[in-house]
């Protein structure tokens, strides 16, 4: 394997790992999937700001 291919492989693997970790740790799947449920089963979205 050439040096160039090695670097590209490492960069792609790194990007895939960071993307995977982001989707696992930071992405709100429950909220994302909620929008695809039938309306009668959807959880209500309740808006608030951090103040009384």
């Amino acid at each position: 394997m050439t040096k160039k291919k090695k670097i590209v492989g490492i960069v792609v693997a790194w990007a895939a790992m960071v993307t995977g970790l982001h989707l696992w740790l930071n992405f709100d799947w429950a909220s994302f999937l909620n929008d695809f449920r039938p309306e009668a089963e959807r959880k209500l979205n309740v808006a608030y700001i951090p103040v009384t």
Binding site: A40, L44, V51
Partner: protein
Amino acid sequence: MFQGFPEIKEALISNRMQAGFLVAPMAVALRSQGVPIKIIYLGHRYGSAAVVRKDGPIKTAADLKGRTIAIPNRFSDERLMAGLVLRKHGLSEKDVHMVEMAPPDVASALAANAVDMFVMGEPYPSQAEMAGFGRVLFFAKDYWPDYMSCVLVVRQDVIEQRREAVQLLVDGIARSGIWLDEGRPHREYAAEFVGRYYYRQPPALLKWALTKPLDRVMYSPLTPLKKDFDMVNDLMVEAGLIPRKLAFEDYVDGSFAEGAQGLGAWKFNPGDTTAE
């Protein structure tokens, strides 16, 4: 989580949010403009205060002439309360300069002398007190008995089509409120997890806001009452925010609050994994 009330208003209108907590006058004004929402419950009682610089020249509300006052929004209870207090001290809104400011910015604006006072909901009065530069000039309850600020509004189509879900939401808020009002340990625990997982604010700040004193913010009773909203309506008409008083039934649906009557606090102790 949003950073300002106008954004919540837009999210409700566009149906991105089906429910939300808005300052009461904004909810009333939206309804008067024909937006299909209803107020169904309150978020809390009290919880707003006017804060000045500890080392500043303002000792009483009578010293506010010519000063700059920060408020969250012109359609807010805090603005109405500021007007009420000014009038009680022989002044009017024309004697001061009111500026709208996002709640998270007011404490730093006071620290930097950009404003002379702010009237805001917690935890921002607590933030200025904790940091050592702010002094509470007055609490909402000093001038406005049974003061309320944030109210729970729900889109009319959701009220009609998802009654069970809306009732579940109101029941949860009612039970949480009673649980919070059971005493200091519950408030301190709530400050910990709300600070970390919801508000993303230091738990110590929320502990201050919820316990110094314990009735600084109250979470029961939260049923929307006509007498409270009559006062808001009267002050709104006086301030020119709405052309005329609205009928209570036009903007409040009390059926969910009735449904939550008689519920008790959640059975939950700090450390438990579930609440019943």
